[in-house]
Assembly symmetry: C2
Homo-oligomer: 327 residues x 2
Protein backbone atom coordinates (compact mmCIF):
# COMPACT_ATOMS: atom_id res chain seq x y z
CA UNK A 1 0.00 0.00 0.00
CA UNK A 2 1.40 3.36 -1.09
CA UNK A 3 1.81 6.25 1.32
CA UNK A 4 0.59 9.76 0.75
CA UNK A 5 4.23 10.76 0.27
CA UNK A 6 4.62 8.20 -2.51
CA UNK A 7 1.61 9.58 -4.42
CA UNK A 8 2.89 13.09 -3.92
CA UNK A 9 6.30 12.18 -5.28
CA UNK A 10 4.76 10.46 -8.29
CA UNK A 11 2.83 13.61 -9.08
CA UNK A 12 5.69 15.99 -8.39
CA UNK A 13 7.88 14.10 -10.84
CA UNK A 14 5.23 14.55 -13.52
CA UNK A 15 4.82 18.21 -12.66
CA UNK A 16 8.57 18.75 -12.87
CA UNK A 17 8.61 17.21 -16.33
CA UNK A 18 5.78 19.52 -17.32
CA UNK A 19 7.57 22.56 -15.92
CA UNK A 20 10.79 21.60 -17.74
CA UNK A 21 8.85 21.79 -21.02
CA UNK A 22 7.93 25.41 -20.26
CA UNK A 23 11.57 26.41 -19.95
CA UNK A 24 12.57 29.06 -22.47
CA UNK A 25 9.26 28.98 -24.35
CA UNK A 26 8.02 32.17 -25.97
CA UNK A 27 6.24 34.49 -25.39
CA UNK A 28 8.14 34.69 -22.13
CA UNK A 29 5.42 36.53 -20.21
CA UNK A 30 2.98 33.70 -20.77
CA UNK A 31 5.24 30.79 -19.86
CA UNK A 32 7.51 32.35 -17.23
CA UNK A 33 4.45 33.41 -15.24
CA UNK A 34 2.98 29.91 -15.48
CA UNK A 35 6.23 28.29 -14.41
CA UNK A 36 6.61 30.79 -11.57
CA UNK A 37 3.12 30.18 -10.26
CA UNK A 38 3.50 26.40 -10.41
CA UNK A 39 6.76 26.73 -8.46
CA UNK A 40 4.99 28.40 -5.53
CA UNK A 41 4.01 24.96 -4.30
CA UNK A 42 0.90 23.94 -2.47
CA UNK A 43 -0.39 20.71 -0.99
CA UNK A 44 -1.12 19.22 -4.43
CA UNK A 45 -4.19 17.74 -2.80
CA UNK A 46 -6.28 17.46 -5.98
CA UNK A 47 -3.75 15.51 -8.06
CA UNK A 48 -2.96 13.25 -5.10
CA UNK A 49 -6.69 12.50 -4.77
CA UNK A 50 -6.80 11.52 -8.45
CA UNK A 51 -3.88 9.12 -8.00
CA UNK A 52 -5.32 7.67 -4.77
CA UNK A 53 -8.69 7.07 -6.43
CA UNK A 54 -7.09 5.19 -9.29
CA UNK A 55 -4.94 3.11 -6.93
CA UNK A 56 -8.03 2.28 -4.87
CA UNK A 57 -9.24 -0.04 -7.63
CA UNK A 58 -5.96 -1.92 -7.83
CA UNK A 59 -4.77 -0.10 -10.94
CA UNK A 60 -1.39 1.52 -11.50
CA UNK A 61 -1.88 5.08 -10.20
CA UNK A 62 0.22 6.37 -13.10
CA UNK A 63 -2.87 5.81 -15.25
CA UNK A 64 -4.30 8.84 -13.47
CA UNK A 65 -1.28 11.10 -14.04
CA UNK A 66 -2.97 12.96 -16.95
CA UNK A 67 -5.99 13.63 -14.73
CA UNK A 68 -3.75 14.62 -11.83
CA UNK A 69 -1.96 17.16 -14.02
CA UNK A 70 -5.27 18.37 -15.45
CA UNK A 71 -6.86 19.10 -12.05
CA UNK A 72 -3.72 20.75 -10.68
CA UNK A 73 -3.40 22.98 -13.75
CA UNK A 74 -7.09 23.79 -13.52
CA UNK A 75 -6.69 24.68 -9.84
CA UNK A 76 -3.76 26.96 -10.65
CA UNK A 77 -5.68 28.69 -13.44
CA UNK A 78 -8.48 29.41 -11.00
CA UNK A 79 -6.08 30.74 -8.36
CA UNK A 80 -4.38 33.11 -10.82
CA UNK A 81 -7.69 34.59 -11.95
CA UNK A 82 -9.07 34.57 -8.40
CA UNK A 83 -6.06 36.56 -7.21
CA UNK A 84 -6.95 39.25 -9.78
CA UNK A 85 -10.58 39.26 -8.58
CA UNK A 86 -9.50 39.53 -4.95
CA UNK A 87 -6.73 42.02 -5.77
CA UNK A 88 -4.52 39.75 -3.66
CA UNK A 89 -0.90 40.91 -3.54
CA UNK A 90 0.48 37.63 -2.20
CA UNK A 91 -0.01 33.91 -2.74
CA UNK A 92 1.97 31.64 -0.42
CA UNK A 93 3.90 34.70 0.68
CA UNK A 94 5.11 35.43 -2.86
CA UNK A 95 3.84 38.11 -5.24
CA UNK A 96 0.83 37.06 -7.31
CA UNK A 97 1.08 36.96 -11.12
CA UNK A 98 -0.86 40.17 -11.69
CA UNK A 99 1.50 41.96 -9.29
CA UNK A 100 4.79 40.43 -10.48
CA UNK A 101 3.79 40.85 -14.14
CA UNK A 102 0.50 42.70 -14.76
CA UNK A 103 -3.23 42.04 -14.92
CA UNK A 104 -3.25 41.44 -18.67
CA UNK A 105 -0.54 38.80 -18.43
CA UNK A 106 -2.32 37.19 -15.47
CA UNK A 107 -5.54 36.98 -17.49
CA UNK A 108 -3.83 35.47 -20.55
CA UNK A 109 -1.60 33.18 -18.54
CA UNK A 110 -4.64 31.86 -16.67
CA UNK A 111 -6.51 31.37 -19.95
CA UNK A 112 -3.63 29.38 -21.41
CA UNK A 113 -3.30 27.23 -18.25
CA UNK A 114 -7.04 26.48 -18.40
CA UNK A 115 -6.65 25.21 -21.97
CA UNK A 116 -3.57 23.23 -20.96
CA UNK A 117 -5.52 21.61 -18.12
CA UNK A 118 -7.84 20.15 -20.74
CA UNK A 119 -4.95 19.32 -23.04
CA UNK A 120 -3.34 17.27 -20.29
CA UNK A 121 -5.98 14.62 -21.02
CA UNK A 122 -5.05 14.29 -24.71
CA UNK A 123 -2.95 11.18 -24.12
CA UNK A 124 -6.11 9.23 -23.29
CA UNK A 125 -7.86 7.09 -25.86
CA UNK A 126 -11.07 8.68 -27.26
CA UNK A 127 -13.71 7.07 -25.03
CA UNK A 128 -11.83 7.79 -21.80
CA UNK A 129 -10.76 11.21 -23.09
CA UNK A 130 -14.37 12.17 -23.68
CA UNK A 131 -15.49 10.93 -20.25
CA UNK A 132 -12.72 12.78 -18.43
CA UNK A 133 -13.07 15.96 -20.49
CA UNK A 134 -16.82 16.28 -20.03
CA UNK A 135 -16.42 15.73 -16.30
CA UNK A 136 -13.76 18.41 -16.02
CA UNK A 137 -15.80 20.83 -18.20
CA UNK A 138 -18.88 20.41 -16.01
CA UNK A 139 -16.77 21.00 -12.91
CA UNK A 140 -15.06 24.01 -14.48
CA UNK A 141 -18.43 25.68 -15.08
CA UNK A 142 -19.47 25.03 -11.47
CA UNK A 143 -16.22 26.59 -10.25
CA UNK A 144 -16.79 29.73 -12.38
CA UNK A 145 -20.33 29.94 -11.03
CA UNK A 146 -19.06 29.57 -7.47
CA UNK A 147 -16.52 32.34 -7.94
CA UNK A 148 -19.12 34.63 -9.48
CA UNK A 149 -21.49 33.92 -6.56
CA UNK A 150 -18.70 34.65 -4.10
CA UNK A 151 -18.27 38.07 -5.73
CA UNK A 152 -21.97 38.78 -5.93
CA UNK A 153 -22.43 37.88 -2.24
CA UNK A 154 -20.08 40.73 -1.31
CA UNK A 155 -22.60 43.18 -2.72
CA UNK A 156 -25.72 41.53 -1.27
CA UNK A 157 -27.16 42.61 2.05
CA UNK A 158 -28.73 39.26 2.85
CA UNK A 159 -27.18 35.89 1.99
CA UNK A 160 -28.66 32.70 3.41
CA UNK A 161 -26.53 29.97 4.97
CA UNK A 162 -27.88 27.67 2.27
CA UNK A 163 -26.73 30.00 -0.53
CA UNK A 164 -23.34 30.14 1.13
CA UNK A 165 -23.02 26.36 1.12
CA UNK A 166 -24.04 26.35 -2.53
CA UNK A 167 -21.31 28.87 -3.26
CA UNK A 168 -18.50 26.97 -1.49
CA UNK A 169 -19.70 23.77 -3.16
CA UNK A 170 -18.88 25.34 -6.52
CA UNK A 171 -15.85 27.31 -5.49
CA UNK A 172 -14.08 24.57 -3.54
CA UNK A 173 -15.86 21.25 -3.19
CA UNK A 174 -16.70 20.03 -6.68
CA UNK A 175 -13.09 20.05 -7.86
CA UNK A 176 -12.17 17.64 -5.05
CA UNK A 177 -15.02 15.37 -6.13
CA UNK A 178 -13.99 15.71 -9.77
CA UNK A 179 -10.36 14.83 -8.97
CA UNK A 180 -11.41 11.60 -7.27
CA UNK A 181 -13.88 10.69 -10.00
CA UNK A 182 -11.31 11.31 -12.72
CA UNK A 183 -8.94 8.95 -10.89
CA UNK A 184 -11.70 6.36 -10.77
CA UNK A 185 -12.46 6.82 -14.49
CA UNK A 186 -8.75 6.37 -15.23
CA UNK A 187 -8.93 3.07 -13.33
CA UNK A 188 -12.00 2.09 -15.40
CA UNK A 189 -14.00 1.77 -12.17
CA UNK A 190 -17.75 1.29 -12.43
CA UNK A 191 -20.17 4.16 -12.72
CA UNK A 192 -21.53 3.93 -9.17
CA UNK A 193 -18.06 3.73 -7.63
CA UNK A 194 -17.09 6.83 -9.62
CA UNK A 195 -20.13 8.69 -8.40
CA UNK A 196 -19.61 7.71 -4.77
CA UNK A 197 -16.06 9.02 -4.90
CA UNK A 198 -17.25 12.26 -6.47
CA UNK A 199 -19.80 12.67 -3.70
CA UNK A 200 -17.23 11.80 -1.04
CA UNK A 201 -14.91 14.52 -2.38
CA UNK A 202 -17.69 17.06 -2.71
CA UNK A 203 -18.86 16.54 0.89
CA UNK A 204 -15.34 16.57 2.29
CA UNK A 205 -14.76 19.76 0.34
CA UNK A 206 -17.70 21.49 1.99
CA UNK A 207 -16.60 20.27 5.43
CA UNK A 208 -13.09 21.48 4.65
CA UNK A 209 -14.29 24.98 3.75
CA UNK A 210 -16.47 25.17 6.87
CA UNK A 211 -13.53 24.24 9.07
CA UNK A 212 -11.49 26.85 7.23
CA UNK A 213 -14.06 29.43 8.34
CA UNK A 214 -13.66 28.17 11.92
CA UNK A 215 -9.89 28.23 11.73
CA UNK A 216 -9.84 31.80 10.53
CA UNK A 217 -11.85 32.97 13.53
CA UNK A 218 -10.57 30.64 16.25
CA UNK A 219 -7.16 29.20 15.41
CA UNK A 220 -4.35 30.35 17.68
CA UNK A 221 -1.57 29.85 15.21
CA UNK A 222 -1.51 31.70 11.93
CA UNK A 223 -1.75 29.60 8.83
CA UNK A 224 0.26 30.70 5.74
CA UNK A 225 0.69 34.15 7.18
CA UNK A 226 -3.05 34.75 7.38
CA UNK A 227 -4.14 37.15 10.09
CA UNK A 228 -6.24 35.71 12.90
CA UNK A 229 -9.81 36.85 12.43
CA UNK A 230 -8.97 38.19 8.98
CA UNK A 231 -12.41 37.21 7.67
CA UNK A 232 -14.13 39.13 10.48
CA UNK A 233 -11.95 42.20 10.03
CA UNK A 234 -12.73 42.42 6.31
CA UNK A 235 -16.47 41.75 6.82
CA UNK A 236 -16.36 38.50 4.88
CA UNK A 237 -19.65 36.65 4.71
CA UNK A 238 -18.47 33.34 6.16
CA UNK A 239 -20.73 30.62 7.55
CA UNK A 240 -20.13 32.01 11.03
CA UNK A 241 -21.19 35.53 10.13
CA UNK A 242 -24.20 34.47 8.08
CA UNK A 243 -25.40 32.07 10.78
CA UNK A 244 -24.91 34.77 13.41
CA UNK A 245 -27.00 37.23 11.39
CA UNK A 246 -29.64 34.55 10.92
CA UNK A 247 -29.87 33.85 14.66
CA UNK A 248 -29.29 37.35 15.97
CA UNK A 249 -32.00 39.30 17.79
CA UNK A 250 -32.61 42.85 16.49
CA UNK A 251 -30.28 44.39 19.09
CA UNK A 252 -27.51 41.94 18.27
CA UNK A 253 -27.97 42.56 14.56
CA UNK A 254 -27.65 46.27 15.19
CA UNK A 255 -24.50 45.69 17.23
CA UNK A 256 -23.07 43.50 14.42
CA UNK A 257 -23.78 46.26 11.91
CA UNK A 258 -22.06 48.80 14.17
CA UNK A 259 -19.00 46.55 14.61
CA UNK A 260 -18.76 45.79 10.90
CA UNK A 261 -18.72 49.50 10.12
CA UNK A 262 -15.65 50.03 12.34
CA UNK A 263 -12.46 50.99 10.52
CA UNK A 264 -8.88 49.76 10.72
CA UNK A 265 -8.18 51.83 13.81
CA UNK A 266 -10.66 49.77 15.86
CA UNK A 267 -9.51 46.25 14.96
CA UNK A 268 -9.46 44.92 18.51
CA UNK A 269 -12.92 46.23 19.39
CA UNK A 270 -14.30 44.80 16.14
CA UNK A 271 -12.74 41.35 16.51
CA UNK A 272 -13.59 40.97 20.21
CA UNK A 273 -17.12 42.31 19.72
CA UNK A 274 -17.96 40.04 16.79
CA UNK A 275 -16.47 36.99 18.53
CA UNK A 276 -18.52 37.76 21.66
CA UNK A 277 -21.72 37.71 19.59
CA UNK A 278 -20.56 34.52 17.84
CA UNK A 279 -20.09 32.96 21.31
CA UNK A 280 -23.50 34.01 22.59
CA UNK A 281 -25.17 32.62 19.46
CA UNK A 282 -23.04 29.47 19.54
CA UNK A 283 -22.30 29.75 15.80
CA UNK A 284 -19.05 27.85 16.30
CA UNK A 285 -21.06 24.79 17.36
CA UNK A 286 -23.44 25.21 14.44
CA UNK A 287 -20.54 25.38 12.03
CA UNK A 288 -18.82 22.35 13.54
CA UNK A 289 -22.13 20.46 13.35
CA UNK A 290 -22.63 21.29 9.68
CA UNK A 291 -19.07 20.22 8.91
CA UNK A 292 -19.44 16.97 10.87
CA UNK A 293 -22.70 16.17 9.11
CA UNK A 294 -20.91 16.36 5.74
CA UNK A 295 -17.95 14.38 6.99
CA UNK A 296 -20.19 11.55 8.18
CA UNK A 297 -22.11 11.55 4.90
CA UNK A 298 -18.81 11.50 3.03
CA UNK A 299 -17.50 8.55 5.01
CA UNK A 300 -20.71 6.65 4.37
CA UNK A 301 -20.13 7.09 0.61
CA UNK A 302 -17.03 4.98 1.02
CA UNK A 303 -18.94 2.21 2.77
CA UNK A 304 -20.36 0.57 -0.30
CA UNK A 305 -17.22 0.97 -2.40
CA UNK A 306 -15.73 -2.23 -3.81
CA UNK A 307 -12.03 -1.59 -3.20
CA UNK A 308 -9.25 -2.77 -0.91
CA UNK A 309 -10.28 -2.02 2.72
CA UNK A 310 -6.82 -0.86 3.71
CA UNK A 311 -6.77 1.68 0.88
CA UNK A 312 -10.24 2.91 1.76
CA UNK A 313 -9.03 3.33 5.32
CA UNK A 314 -6.12 5.46 4.08
CA UNK A 315 -8.45 7.70 2.13
CA UNK A 316 -10.66 8.12 5.19
CA UNK A 317 -7.62 9.01 7.23
CA UNK A 318 -6.55 11.61 4.69
CA UNK A 319 -10.01 13.18 4.93
CA UNK A 320 -9.82 13.28 8.74
CA UNK A 321 -6.36 14.83 8.59
CA UNK A 322 -7.61 17.52 6.25
CA UNK A 323 -10.40 18.33 8.63
CA UNK A 324 -8.63 17.83 11.94
CA UNK A 325 -6.63 21.03 11.97
CA UNK A 326 -6.73 22.42 15.48
CA UNK A 327 -9.33 25.06 16.24
Amino acid sequence: VKTHAAFLELFNNRLNEYRAELEGRKPAGLYDSESYFLSLGGKRLRPVLALIACDLFGKDPRLALPSALAVELFHNFSLIHDDILDQAPLRRNQPTVHVKWNTSTAILSGDAILVKAFRALESHKPVEFRKLSTLLYRTAILVCEGQQLDMEFEQLKKVSVQDYIGMITGKTAVLLGCSLQMGAVSAAAGRSAQERLYEFGRLIGIAFQLSDDLLDAYADTTDFGKKKGGDILCNKKTFLMLKARELAKPAQLEELDRLMALGEDHEKEKLDGVLAIFDRLKVKDHCRKEADKRTRAAISCLGRLRAEPEKIENLKQLAYELLAREV
Copy 2:
Protein backbone atom coordinates in the same frame (compact mmCIF):
# COMPACT_ATOMS: atom_id res chain seq x y z
CA VAL B 1 -25.71 25.13 -53.64
CA LYS B 2 -26.31 27.08 -50.43
CA THR B 3 -25.74 30.81 -50.22
CA HIS B 4 -23.73 32.58 -47.55
CA ALA B 5 -27.04 33.85 -46.16
CA ALA B 6 -28.33 30.29 -45.81
CA PHE B 7 -25.29 29.22 -43.79
CA LEU B 8 -25.57 32.32 -41.66
CA GLU B 9 -29.22 31.62 -40.92
CA LEU B 10 -28.46 28.02 -40.05
CA PHE B 11 -25.90 29.20 -37.53
CA ASN B 12 -27.99 32.05 -36.16
CA ASN B 13 -30.81 29.62 -35.40
CA ARG B 14 -28.41 27.46 -33.41
CA LEU B 15 -27.01 30.49 -31.61
CA ASN B 16 -30.50 31.67 -30.73
CA GLU B 17 -31.26 28.26 -29.22
CA TYR B 18 -28.06 28.50 -27.23
CA ARG B 19 -28.89 32.00 -26.03
CA ALA B 20 -32.39 30.93 -25.02
CA GLU B 21 -30.81 28.36 -22.67
CA LEU B 22 -28.94 31.17 -20.91
CA GLU B 23 -32.17 32.99 -20.09
CA GLY B 24 -32.72 33.38 -16.36
CA ARG B 25 -29.74 31.22 -15.39
CA LYS B 26 -27.91 32.05 -12.18
CA PRO B 27 -25.58 33.58 -11.21
CA ALA B 28 -27.00 36.41 -13.28
CA GLY B 29 -23.72 38.29 -13.70
CA LEU B 30 -22.14 35.31 -15.44
CA TYR B 31 -24.97 34.50 -17.84
CA ASP B 32 -26.48 37.92 -18.50
CA SER B 33 -23.07 39.22 -19.55
CA GLU B 34 -22.57 36.24 -21.86
CA SER B 35 -25.99 36.67 -23.42
CA TYR B 36 -25.44 40.41 -23.79
CA PHE B 37 -22.11 39.98 -25.50
CA LEU B 38 -23.44 37.35 -27.90
CA SER B 39 -26.29 39.71 -28.77
CA LEU B 40 -23.89 42.41 -29.97
CA GLY B 41 -23.69 40.61 -33.28
CA GLY B 42 -20.76 40.34 -35.62
CA LYS B 43 -20.18 38.76 -39.00
CA ARG B 44 -20.22 35.23 -37.56
CA LEU B 45 -17.47 34.52 -40.05
CA ARG B 46 -15.85 31.66 -38.14
CA PRO B 47 -18.99 29.54 -37.67
CA VAL B 48 -20.02 30.15 -41.28
CA LEU B 49 -16.59 28.92 -42.40
CA ALA B 50 -17.08 25.73 -40.37
CA LEU B 51 -20.46 25.10 -42.03
CA ILE B 52 -19.12 25.91 -45.51
CA ALA B 53 -16.19 23.53 -45.04
CA CYS B 54 -18.51 20.70 -44.04
CA ASP B 55 -20.84 21.38 -46.95
CA LEU B 56 -17.88 21.41 -49.33
CA PHE B 57 -17.58 17.63 -49.01
CA GLY B 58 -21.24 17.01 -49.79
CA LYS B 59 -22.23 16.47 -46.16
CA ASP B 60 -25.12 18.08 -44.31
CA PRO B 61 -23.64 21.32 -42.92
CA ARG B 62 -25.62 20.77 -39.72
CA LEU B 63 -23.00 18.17 -38.83
CA ALA B 64 -20.68 21.11 -38.25
CA LEU B 65 -23.06 23.07 -36.01
CA PRO B 66 -21.26 21.99 -32.80
CA SER B 67 -17.96 23.17 -34.27
CA ALA B 68 -19.59 26.38 -35.50
CA LEU B 69 -20.88 27.13 -32.01
CA ALA B 70 -17.53 26.17 -30.48
CA VAL B 71 -15.48 28.56 -32.64
CA GLU B 72 -17.96 31.42 -32.24
CA LEU B 73 -17.99 30.99 -28.45
CA PHE B 74 -14.22 30.78 -28.43
CA HIS B 75 -14.01 33.97 -30.49
CA ASN B 76 -16.35 35.75 -28.07
CA PHE B 77 -14.34 34.59 -25.06
CA SER B 78 -11.20 36.02 -26.64
CA LEU B 79 -12.92 39.33 -27.44
CA ILE B 80 -14.20 39.76 -23.87
CA HIS B 81 -10.76 39.19 -22.38
CA ASP B 82 -9.08 41.20 -25.13
CA ASP B 83 -11.35 44.16 -24.37
CA ILE B 84 -10.07 44.08 -20.76
CA LEU B 85 -6.47 43.97 -21.99
CA ASP B 86 -7.07 46.88 -24.36
CA GLN B 87 -9.21 48.75 -21.81
CA ALA B 88 -11.68 49.16 -24.66
CA PRO B 89 -14.86 50.97 -23.61
CA LEU B 90 -16.89 49.93 -26.67
CA ARG B 91 -17.41 46.84 -28.82
CA ARG B 92 -19.66 47.33 -31.84
CA ASN B 93 -20.65 50.70 -30.40
CA GLN B 94 -21.96 49.13 -27.19
CA PRO B 95 -20.30 49.06 -23.77
CA THR B 96 -17.86 46.17 -23.27
CA VAL B 97 -18.52 43.61 -20.52
CA HIS B 98 -15.89 44.97 -18.12
CA VAL B 99 -17.48 48.42 -18.45
CA LYS B 100 -21.14 47.38 -18.28
CA TRP B 101 -20.44 44.94 -15.41
CA ASN B 102 -16.89 45.01 -14.05
CA THR B 103 -13.47 43.50 -14.75
CA SER B 104 -13.99 40.55 -12.40
CA THR B 105 -17.23 39.56 -14.09
CA ALA B 106 -15.63 39.99 -17.52
CA ILE B 107 -12.79 37.67 -16.49
CA LEU B 108 -15.13 34.99 -15.10
CA SER B 109 -17.65 35.32 -17.90
CA GLY B 110 -14.85 34.90 -20.46
CA ASP B 111 -13.52 31.87 -18.57
CA ALA B 112 -16.94 30.23 -18.56
CA ILE B 113 -17.47 30.95 -22.28
CA LEU B 114 -14.08 29.37 -23.04
CA VAL B 115 -15.13 26.19 -21.25
CA LYS B 116 -18.49 26.27 -23.01
CA ALA B 117 -16.75 26.56 -26.37
CA PHE B 118 -15.14 23.21 -25.67
CA ARG B 119 -18.37 21.80 -24.26
CA ALA B 120 -20.16 22.64 -27.50
CA LEU B 121 -18.36 19.64 -28.99
CA GLU B 122 -19.70 17.14 -26.43
CA SER B 123 -22.46 15.92 -28.75
CA HIS B 124 -19.82 14.32 -30.98
CA LYS B 125 -18.92 10.65 -30.70
CA PRO B 126 -15.60 10.02 -28.95
CA VAL B 127 -13.22 9.74 -31.92
CA GLU B 128 -14.51 12.88 -33.61
CA PHE B 129 -14.83 14.66 -30.26
CA ARG B 130 -11.16 14.03 -29.55
CA LYS B 131 -10.05 15.19 -33.00
CA LEU B 132 -12.08 18.39 -32.82
CA SER B 133 -11.14 19.13 -29.20
CA THR B 134 -7.41 18.71 -29.70
CA LEU B 135 -7.56 20.94 -32.76
CA LEU B 136 -9.40 23.67 -30.89
CA TYR B 137 -7.05 23.37 -27.87
CA ARG B 138 -3.99 23.77 -30.07
CA THR B 139 -5.56 26.80 -31.74
CA ALA B 140 -6.59 28.27 -28.38
CA ILE B 141 -2.99 28.18 -27.15
CA LEU B 142 -1.80 29.88 -30.34
CA VAL B 143 -4.42 32.62 -29.86
CA CYS B 144 -3.28 33.22 -26.25
CA GLU B 145 0.33 33.37 -27.45
CA GLY B 146 -0.64 35.83 -30.18
CA GLN B 147 -2.43 38.09 -27.72
CA GLN B 148 0.49 37.99 -25.31
CA LEU B 149 2.89 38.86 -28.17
CA ASP B 150 0.63 41.74 -29.19
CA MET B 151 0.91 43.13 -25.65
CA GLU B 152 4.65 42.55 -25.40
CA PHE B 153 5.22 44.30 -28.75
CA GLU B 154 3.76 47.48 -27.28
CA GLN B 155 6.66 47.61 -24.84
CA LEU B 156 9.37 46.66 -27.32
CA LYS B 157 11.38 49.29 -29.15
CA LYS B 158 12.13 47.09 -32.17
CA VAL B 159 9.71 44.56 -33.65
CA SER B 160 10.46 42.94 -37.00
CA VAL B 161 7.88 42.63 -39.76
CA GLN B 162 8.34 38.87 -39.49
CA ASP B 163 7.55 38.91 -35.75
CA TYR B 164 4.47 40.96 -36.53
CA ILE B 165 3.22 38.41 -39.04
CA GLY B 166 3.84 35.68 -36.47
CA MET B 167 1.76 37.62 -33.95
CA ILE B 168 -1.24 38.20 -36.25
CA THR B 169 -1.06 34.56 -37.30
CA GLY B 170 -1.79 33.59 -33.70
CA LYS B 171 -4.11 36.41 -32.82
CA THR B 172 -6.31 36.27 -35.92
CA ALA B 173 -5.39 33.76 -38.59
CA VAL B 174 -5.24 30.34 -36.92
CA LEU B 175 -8.83 30.47 -35.69
CA LEU B 176 -10.04 30.93 -39.28
CA GLY B 177 -7.98 27.90 -40.30
CA CYS B 178 -9.25 25.95 -37.31
CA SER B 179 -12.89 26.79 -38.12
CA LEU B 180 -12.52 25.42 -41.63
CA GLN B 181 -10.65 22.33 -40.50
CA MET B 182 -13.24 21.57 -37.83
CA GLY B 183 -15.93 21.76 -40.51
CA ALA B 184 -13.91 19.34 -42.63
CA VAL B 185 -13.43 16.97 -39.67
CA SER B 186 -17.20 17.08 -39.07
CA ALA B 187 -17.66 16.02 -42.68
CA ALA B 188 -15.16 13.19 -42.14
CA ALA B 189 -12.99 14.64 -44.91
CA GLY B 190 -9.52 13.17 -45.44
CA ARG B 191 -6.48 14.38 -43.56
CA SER B 192 -4.90 16.27 -46.44
CA ALA B 193 -8.15 18.04 -47.35
CA GLN B 194 -8.48 19.10 -43.71
CA GLU B 195 -4.96 20.44 -43.66
CA ARG B 196 -5.35 22.34 -46.92
CA LEU B 197 -8.44 24.05 -45.59
CA TYR B 198 -6.64 24.95 -42.36
CA GLU B 199 -3.81 26.45 -44.38
CA PHE B 200 -6.25 28.29 -46.65
CA GLY B 201 -7.91 29.87 -43.61
CA ARG B 202 -4.64 30.73 -41.94
CA LEU B 203 -3.28 32.47 -45.06
CA ILE B 204 -6.53 34.32 -45.71
CA GLY B 205 -6.47 35.39 -42.06
CA ILE B 206 -3.03 36.95 -42.41
CA ALA B 207 -4.08 38.69 -45.64
CA PHE B 208 -7.22 39.88 -43.89
CA GLN B 209 -5.27 41.41 -41.00
CA LEU B 210 -2.83 43.10 -43.37
CA SER B 211 -5.69 44.68 -45.32
CA ASP B 212 -7.16 45.76 -41.99
CA ASP B 213 -3.93 47.65 -41.32
CA LEU B 214 -4.28 49.30 -44.74
CA LEU B 215 -7.93 50.15 -44.18
CA ASP B 216 -7.19 51.83 -40.88
CA ALA B 217 -4.68 54.17 -42.49
CA TYR B 218 -6.21 54.69 -45.92
CA ALA B 219 -9.95 53.99 -45.93
CA ASP B 220 -12.15 57.01 -46.53
CA THR B 221 -15.20 55.68 -44.77
CA THR B 222 -15.13 54.81 -41.14
CA ASP B 223 -15.73 51.18 -40.27
CA PHE B 224 -17.69 50.39 -37.07
CA GLY B 225 -17.06 53.86 -35.76
CA LYS B 226 -13.29 53.47 -35.90
CA LYS B 227 -11.37 56.68 -36.37
CA LYS B 228 -9.46 57.04 -39.60
CA GLY B 229 -5.75 56.63 -38.86
CA GLY B 230 -6.56 55.42 -35.34
CA ASP B 231 -3.61 53.01 -35.41
CA ILE B 232 -1.22 55.80 -36.34
CA LEU B 233 -2.60 58.18 -33.73
CA CYS B 234 -2.14 55.62 -30.94
CA ASN B 235 1.33 54.57 -32.14
CA LYS B 236 0.22 51.03 -32.92
CA LYS B 237 2.91 48.81 -34.36
CA THR B 238 1.09 47.80 -37.54
CA PHE B 239 2.72 46.27 -40.60
CA LEU B 240 2.83 49.74 -42.17
CA MET B 241 4.63 51.31 -39.24
CA LEU B 242 7.06 48.43 -38.76
CA LYS B 243 7.88 48.29 -42.46
CA ALA B 244 8.34 52.06 -42.52
CA ARG B 245 10.79 51.90 -39.62
CA GLU B 246 12.61 49.06 -41.34
CA LEU B 247 13.02 51.03 -44.58
CA ALA B 248 13.46 54.51 -43.12
CA LYS B 249 16.73 56.40 -43.43
CA PRO B 250 18.09 57.84 -40.15
CA ALA B 251 16.49 61.25 -40.76
CA GLN B 252 13.11 59.68 -41.52
CA LEU B 253 13.36 57.49 -38.42
CA GLU B 254 14.05 60.57 -36.35
CA GLU B 255 11.06 62.33 -37.92
CA LEU B 256 8.87 59.28 -37.19
CA ASP B 257 10.00 59.31 -33.56
CA ARG B 258 9.19 63.01 -33.33
CA LEU B 259 5.73 62.53 -34.86
CA MET B 260 4.94 59.55 -32.62
CA ALA B 261 5.77 61.63 -29.56
CA LEU B 262 3.16 64.25 -30.51
CA GLY B 263 0.17 64.50 -28.21
CA GLU B 264 -3.57 64.67 -28.83
CA ASP B 265 -3.41 68.38 -29.61
CA HIS B 266 -1.36 67.68 -32.76
CA GLU B 267 -3.43 64.93 -34.35
CA LYS B 268 -3.47 66.40 -37.84
CA GLU B 269 0.27 67.03 -37.93
CA LYS B 270 0.93 63.50 -36.69
CA LEU B 271 -1.40 61.76 -39.12
CA ASP B 272 -0.32 63.78 -42.17
CA GLY B 273 3.35 63.51 -41.27
CA VAL B 274 3.32 59.74 -40.74
CA LEU B 275 1.27 59.17 -43.91
CA ALA B 276 3.74 61.29 -45.88
CA ILE B 277 6.60 59.08 -44.73
CA PHE B 278 4.53 55.98 -45.49
CA ASP B 279 4.00 57.35 -49.01
CA ARG B 280 7.67 58.10 -49.59
CA LEU B 281 8.64 54.60 -48.42
CA LYS B 282 5.79 52.98 -50.38
CA VAL B 283 4.79 50.85 -47.40
CA LYS B 284 1.23 50.67 -48.71
CA ASP B 285 2.50 48.77 -51.76
CA HIS B 286 4.62 46.50 -49.58
CA CYS B 287 1.63 45.71 -47.41
CA ARG B 288 -0.64 45.05 -50.39
CA LYS B 289 2.07 42.80 -51.87
CA GLU B 290 2.40 40.76 -48.67
CA ALA B 291 -1.37 40.38 -48.46
CA ASP B 292 -1.64 39.36 -52.12
CA LYS B 293 1.13 36.80 -51.71
CA ARG B 294 -0.88 35.11 -48.93
CA THR B 295 -4.11 35.32 -50.88
CA ARG B 296 -2.54 33.59 -53.88
CA ALA B 297 -1.02 30.90 -51.68
CA ALA B 298 -4.40 30.43 -50.00
CA ILE B 299 -6.21 30.04 -53.30
CA SER B 300 -3.65 27.47 -54.43
CA CYS B 301 -4.48 25.40 -51.32
CA LEU B 302 -7.96 24.97 -52.74
CA GLY B 303 -6.62 23.76 -56.08
CA ARG B 304 -5.98 20.19 -55.08
CA LEU B 305 -9.11 19.84 -52.97
CA ARG B 306 -11.50 17.05 -53.94
CA ALA B 307 -14.84 18.83 -53.58
CA GLU B 308 -17.57 20.26 -55.78
CA PRO B 309 -16.04 22.96 -58.03
CA GLU B 310 -18.97 25.32 -57.62
CA LYS B 311 -18.65 25.20 -53.83
CA ILE B 312 -14.93 25.75 -54.00
CA GLU B 313 -15.62 28.75 -56.21
CA ASN B 314 -18.03 30.13 -53.58
CA LEU B 315 -15.40 29.77 -50.86
CA LYS B 316 -12.87 31.58 -53.05
CA GLN B 317 -15.37 34.34 -53.63
CA LEU B 318 -16.00 34.70 -49.89
CA ALA B 319 -12.26 35.10 -49.38
CA TYR B 320 -12.03 37.77 -52.07
CA GLU B 321 -14.99 39.62 -50.60
CA LEU B 322 -13.34 39.60 -47.18
CA LEU B 323 -10.20 41.06 -48.65
CA ALA B 324 -11.71 43.40 -51.21
CA ARG B 325 -12.85 46.12 -48.88
CA GLU B 326 -12.05 49.45 -50.53
CA VAL B 327 -8.84 51.18 -49.56
